[in-house]
């Protein structure tokens, strides 16, 4: 091999064998790309879909050897299925109000242990009889608060782990109405003038019968405004002045928009004034008297029987997003 011509072909040989090796590698490698990608992924999309459907549209079910019903939140030991929809007829299996979530059920749902949730919602993969649970995150997000978790009883409603950023997840979002508490609506024209001295036309009184488990949410609208500075002065409960931001918070709603209102801010006759009082103030079996004093506002009703907060109670529902996110 003294003649060094023609060796150029060896380069070509080396090249083509490298190419062939790379080709074999790629052909073997590509199927495994698909395997890791789509199969597991599309399966999880529907796991999330089913879970969200069951949570938002079903009432859940409990049962033991003698009886059964949809009020599983009252029978946590015999839960057969978890569903959050409100049900007014506990004996029938279906709800007439899908997408309306019950506060009691959500609170009970938060207390269930992890293995129950995974088991009951089917958030696992069954490989030859062995269960491998998926990672999951189920949250109820407030649309009005930039999609932060809804807070019920001082607990943010979010279950499971935080969403991992380093892998693919399957997420489904449902729009729901959540019962967040109770409210009472009062028309300022119907509220009586406080007859206790010193009598002021701008002062009204309301009975609140304790004990209460939910915060008091008081909505007053249709004000009769008499001056240039209609505002709210103070709240007095059984003779004690309440302090703002500690015992209560207040705001106003104008055309569906929530605006801040403190004890010096103004409102007008289009505003609904809202007081939110801590339930802890009403712990005893006792009828509390709540005096509400305004400025440049007059109450006209002199008829005496005080209105009772607890008799005007209605459920307050907030629209929210229910998100279910599942990953491997």
């Amino acid at each position: 091999m003294i003649d060094e011509k023609g060796q150029i072909a060896v380069d070509f040989l080396l090249g083509i064998s490298l190419f062939l090796i790379a080709l074999i590698f790629i052909v073997q490698f590509i199927p495994s790309l698909f395997l890791s990608g789509s199969a597991g992924e599309s399966s999880l999309d529907y796991t999330a879909y089913r879970t969200a459907a069951i949570l938002a549209e079903d009432t859940g079910w409990w049962g033991n050897s003698t009886s059964s019903g949809t009020a599983w939140e009252a029978h946590p030991d015999n839960v057969m299925r978890i569903g959050l929809a409100v049900d007014h007829e506990p004996e029938s299996k279906l709800t007439n109000t899908p997408n309306l979530l019950s506060k009691d059920k959500i609170e009970r749902f938060m207390m269930l242990n992890e293995s129950d949730i995974i088991e009951k919602l089917g958030l696992y993969n069954n490989v030859d009889g062995a269960h491998f649970s998926y990672g999951y995150n189920i949250s109820i997000l407030q649309i009005s608060q930039n999609n932060t978790p809804l807070i019920l009883n001082n607990t943010p409603i979010t279950l499971g782990e935080a969403t991992p950023h380093d892998r693919e997840t399957s997420k489904i979002t449902r729009i729901v109405l959540v019962e967040t508490g109770t409210i009472a609506y009062f028309d300022a024209e119907e509220l009586p003038i406080d007859p206790n001295p010193p009598v002021k036309k701008s002062k009204t009184i309301l009975n609140v019968t304790g004990p209460l488990s939910d915060d008091v949410k008081l909505y007053i609208d249709n004000f009769d405004i008499t001056g240039t500075d209609p505002s709210f002065n103070k709240l007095v409960l059984d003779g004690t002045n309440l302090s703002e931001n500690i015992d209560y918070t207040t705001y106003k709603i104008v055309n569906g928009t929530v605006l801040p209102l403190n004890s010096t801010g103004n409102f007008d006759n289009n505003s609904t004034v809202v007081f939110s009082l801590k339930s802890g103030l009403f712990n005893n079996f006792h009828t509390y008297q709540l005096e509400i004093e305004f400025k440049d506002v007059q109450f006209t009703n002199t008829a005496s029987p005080f209105m009772d907060y607890t008799q005007e109670l209605e459920v307050l529902c907030e629209p929210a997003y229910l998100t279910v996110e599942v990953w491997n």
Partner: protein, 147 residues
């Protein structure tokens, strides 16, 4: 003969041919031994797993959706279509184990491959049963409150 050994012209061409043939034989033998696996079985496994998971999911999703609207007195039935083959094999959808394990199973008879899909907890309140083979023509899920 001596002449032949002395003449070194064309050697590289011969060596080139030899090397070339060797490499080609090597390559094609690897390919032909593994061809079945590489080009047919592996992709088929992937596609089968995908399709079977998909079909299991379809069943599970339909049953869940249907459960959410079943009439208290009455019936509901829905037809659905499934492909005759997943990959290259026929398969059976089996919902009979749903009661105890909340699972729908899609099994291929010929290779025994199976995929299991969970259903979200409705089997405990509503018995789900039935098996169907992909090769049968009419597929239907039905519910009747009176049965």
């Amino acid at each position: 003969m001596r002449q032949l050994f002395k003449n070194e012209e064309g050697v590289s061409t011969i060596v080139e041919y030899m090397l070339f043939t060797l490499i080609c034989i090597g390559f094609f033998s690897i390919i032909s031994i593994n061809a079945e696996d590489i080009f047919i079985n592996d992709p088929n496994d992937v596609v089968m797993k995908d399709e079977m998971t998909d079909i299991g999911n379809m069943m599970s999703t339909m049953i869940t959706d249907m459960y959410l609207i079943v009439p208290p007195n009455g019936n509901i039935d829905t037809e659905y279509r499934t492909p005759v083959r997943a990959g290259r094999e026929e398969y059976t959808i089996d919902a009979d184990i749903a009661y105890e394990d909340q699972i729908i199973e899609v099994i291929s008879q010929s290779s025994g491959k199976k995929v299991r899909v969970t259903i979200g907890g409705i089997a405990t309140t509503m018995p789900i049963n039935g098996t169907v083979s992909s090769s049968s023509t009419n597929h239907m899920i039905s519910y009747d409150s009176r049965r």
